[in-house]
């Protein structure tokens, strides 16, 4: 019995120690690399601070923020009206801060010669109306469409900016991460997919497709010329103060923090000095 009690209290103490983090960050897997690198650099500067970073999706992050389980919610999309209303009903106003930009690029296998498509052609391909590469100036082979799972933030942007309300063909293969899209495309000449700009360098077997002549570059995205760019957010409970504001505003939005954003493959919110 005594031994049992010892084990019991030991495990209780262990589970309680989870709450000893000064900052908890939860949410989008797209924002995850930024949050992780920021947390590491920040903890190196402030050894007394402990930060826990979890990547489980924008929806879950915002849910955790609403329930008071996290200090910061990472999100790769705007909050939905229902979520904002829920936050207000719980007595606080969510405060989204843009921490970086992301651009989504259509990608194909390097051995596929197609390098330029219009938004209409992309829509046609994803609707299932254009089914062969020869219809868009490529070799005569079928088009295999790859999409992200329909609850990912990347997919939501694609649906909003390319599909514009049209349904993606049911034949589209669905994968759960950017890395998997890259892997499928590098293995298969017939595939078209889309990834965040940070993943374009991850394989030499993939090539990005320009949209009506505009390539997904940092400059084009920040200038608003590239049609498939989106902001990435960290959302706080009300106007940030204390450690939260020190972390996001004093560190994350500083040149040092934005240098990290660039390093992990996203677009900094302002031009960094060389």
């Amino acid at each position: 019995m005594k031994r049992f009690l010892v084990v019991f209290f030991f495990s209780l103490g262990l589970s309680l120690s989870v709450f000893a983090f000064n900052l908890v960050i939860t949410g989008s897997t797209t924002v995850l690399p930024i949050a992780q690198q920021w947390a590491q650099a920040y903890m190196a500067q402030h050894p007394e601070i402990r930060i826990s970073v979890v990547g489980n999706g924008s929806g879950n992050g915002i849910k955790a923020l609403l329930d008071g389980l996290t200090n910061i919610a990472d999100s790769s999309r705007w909050m939905k009206n229902s979520e904002i209303r829920l936050a207000e009903s719980r007595g606080f106003f969510p405060f989204p801060i843009v921490v970086a930009y992301d651009a989504i690029a259509p990608v194909v296998n390097v051995n596929n010669p197609v390098r330029n498509l219009s938004l209409e052609q992309l829509k046609g391909i994803y609707e299932g109306k254009i089914t062969r590469w020869s219809q868009v100036g490529g070799p005569d082979m079928p088009i295999v469409v790859v999409q992200r799972d329909n609850s990912s933030g990347t997919h939501e942007v694609w649906e909003e900016k390319v599909m514009k309300g049209a349904l993606v063909t049911a034949r589209a293969l669905t994968v759960a991460s950017n890395a998997e899209v890259v892997r499928m495309i590098s293995q298969n000449k017939k595939v078209i997919g889309y990834v965040g700009i940070g993943y374009m360098e991850s394989s030499t077997m993939i090539a990005d497709v320009a949209i009506s002549g505009i390539k997904a570059t940092i400059a084009a995205a920040r200038a608003g010329k590239y049609p498939l760019a989106r902001p990435l957010f960290m959302i706080t409970r009300g106007i940030p103060n204390g450690e939260v504001s020190k972390f996001i505003i004093n560190f994350g939005l500083s040149p040092a923090g934005q240098e990290i954003v660039k390093k992990v493959g996203f677009i900094p919110i302002y031009r960094l000095k060389k």
């Binding site: 999706g57 799972d149 329909n150 609850s151 649906e159 349904l167 049911a170 034949r171 298969n188």
Partner: protein
Amino acid sequence: MRKINAVDTILWSSGWISNVIIIAIIFFLFYNWMPLFRMVSPIEFFFGTKWYPTVVPPLYGTLPLLVATIEISLFSLILTFPISLVVTIFMTFVAPKKIRYLLKVFLEFFSSIPSVVLGLIGLSILSSYLQNVFNLDTGLNIFNASLMLTFLTIPMAASMMEDFIVSFPIEQVEGAQALGATNMEILWKVMIPGLKGPFASIAMLSMGRIFGETMIVLMVAGNAAIFPLSVFDPAKPLSATIAAEMGETAVGTSHFYALFGIGAIIFFITLVINIIGEWVRIRYEREMRRS
């Protein structure tokens, strides 16, 4: 009367707690499913043919997902059963004692491979192989998923079959031997007809295991919500749908309730399959005791 001490209390309460938790899970599934029918009609949910949960207005037809799951499970069971039978026969009748022991160890080792590892093999090795050999549009399809599920289920099915063959009533075997039957004749004419019941139950239990398996199908089935026509078509099974979509679904939306509905469908089908499997097994055991 037996003395009741602290250990008894702990055992008793943990038994009851697990019962209560299971009932709570069932309640939880229903509680999070039922609000869906305020927004979507049951006919549309069960028989709709389009799964587009994020468009406006959303479409929650689970029929293609259910068909995909059933197709993958059946195909995988068709592969699992004969292979397990052959493995079992080799282990119990053909292999010399030493190899038999090694095989048993290997089988047990095989059963401890996590499903995510099998998924990874299907994803990174088998899919590109299938693509090139059969010149397919994609190697992520029903065939690939079923094959990986088969590898997952064989150890379980084979070791259960082995248990039944080893514990087969010795009188019947000796009777057959007295009539001059060879080992193979005993196997085919005495044991397998006599073990029909347990083998059916093994099939059902394997089916239950395959039906709810998530990681492998999520990784290698291709996840395209269509009615698959051939085994080389991609498909989107029920379990993979929950795993892929739950992460970013806002609580309290119709999509959230629909995913719980899918969970409930899997739960009920698995429950029915397992009940049939157990029922067959119990009936067989009763018969054996009577004879």
